[in-house]
């Protein structure tokens, strides 16, 4: 069965977005700094049809993660930054334009039902009946690959606390943001984490892999 892997960039003090996120600035103040390392990689540039970029351990890891992902789950906020009825959402086609970078099925958790949306070779399916349903559908789509959980923090916490997350791949960026959206909430302990890998990059990012066998204790 396809593993569910949370793959997310986080500051050393635990933030995945800056403060005051809105439709114009979905990563919040300073949040783009969390992602500069990935934009700089050759693997990311290639996946988006561009030349150039750095070939380094960051790029090798991005290539591996992009290569193994066969389906993605994300929250509505990560898809469009909006909430409420879709007809009122100015980014109802997502952030990525006509050529989304996924190239595999994407399942978007939302409270608002909607027909699937196909853009180029990516189909977005909107799931209104909960995280387990989204995971079942993503696993069916992923086959032998893995299901990537892209965020945001709220969705990640829901899967973690339900004991449905198999692995965490955290990219810890050497920043103290001091405000914003925290990856991990204040909802009591979760057991069973096991450190499985660490890769230190010259960019100052450290990539930490954990197996997450655990449920809340």
């Amino acid at each position: 069965m396809a593993e569910l892997v949370l793959d997310i960039s986080v500051s050393l003090d635990g933030y995945v977005a800056g403060p005051d996120a809105d439709l114009e600035n979905p990563l919040g103040q300073g949040g783009e700094q969390l992602h500069e390392w990935v934009f700089a990689t050759q693997a990311w540039q290639e996946a988006h049809g561009h030349q150039g970029g750095e070939h380094n351990v960051d790029s090798e890891l991005v290539a591996k993660l992009v290569g193994e992902a066969s389906a993605t789950i994300m929250g509505r906020n990560m898809f469009s930054g909006g909430n409420g009825a879709w007809e009122d959402d100015p980014r109802a086609s997502g952030w990525w334009g006509d050529e989304p970078p996924f190239h595999h099925p994407v399942f978007v958790l939302t409270h608002h039902a909607r027909e699937p949306l196909t853009l180029s070779d990516t189909t977005f399916t909107f799931v209104t009946d909960g995280i387990e349903s989204a995971l079942d559908q993503a696993r069916a789509a992923a086959g032998d690959g893995v299901v990537r959980l892209g965020g945001g923090a709220d969705v990640a916490q829901q899967y973690l606390r339900a004991g449905l997350l198999d692995r965490l791949q955290l990219h810890v960026v050497p920043l103290l943001m001091g405000n914003g959206v925290r990856l991990f909430g204040e909802q009591g302990p979760v057991g069973g984490l096991e450190l499985t890998s660490s890769v230190e990059s010259p960019t100052g990012v450290i990539h930490l892999g954990y197996r997450a066998a655990g449920k809340p204790v």
Copy 2:
């Protein structure tokens, strides 16, 4: 000039103590789990006059950190768990009994003046005129060694935000505590961190070294 190094164990979700800390349970609920890795090392056991313990990368790092520390700064809460007047503090001699494990001068930040306290080869000096004064005194005492900042979180944040911290040595324990005392607060960004080392241990702890050139940005 002696460097000031924050040397502290922290859960993956950023806590340095569990919830509901009190005089009987100063690390809070579950907080002792953050320190099991260090108690298990040969270096820690030797420093406390005991036999046994594991000889592993954790132990090598503990030996290095213990060896280089020539003075320690800590907050009142870490010294005794108390607050208010010393005559009302049931642990006014600290947590460590007649043979404290420091073997070098310790400077305790407090709002309540008090004469120095000597126990075996450790003298505790109580500093009431602020973090810069404590650092000046500790540096004078440390000579060519380093000044270790042991915590807690409040004192660590004060030094960090004043731009007085030279390095962070974080021991990231594979736990999601989900509640308690966070190492890093919500007081805005601090720049200039640089990853300088990472050591992955079979115990699941990852030891991250950062240079902290920065001040608040």
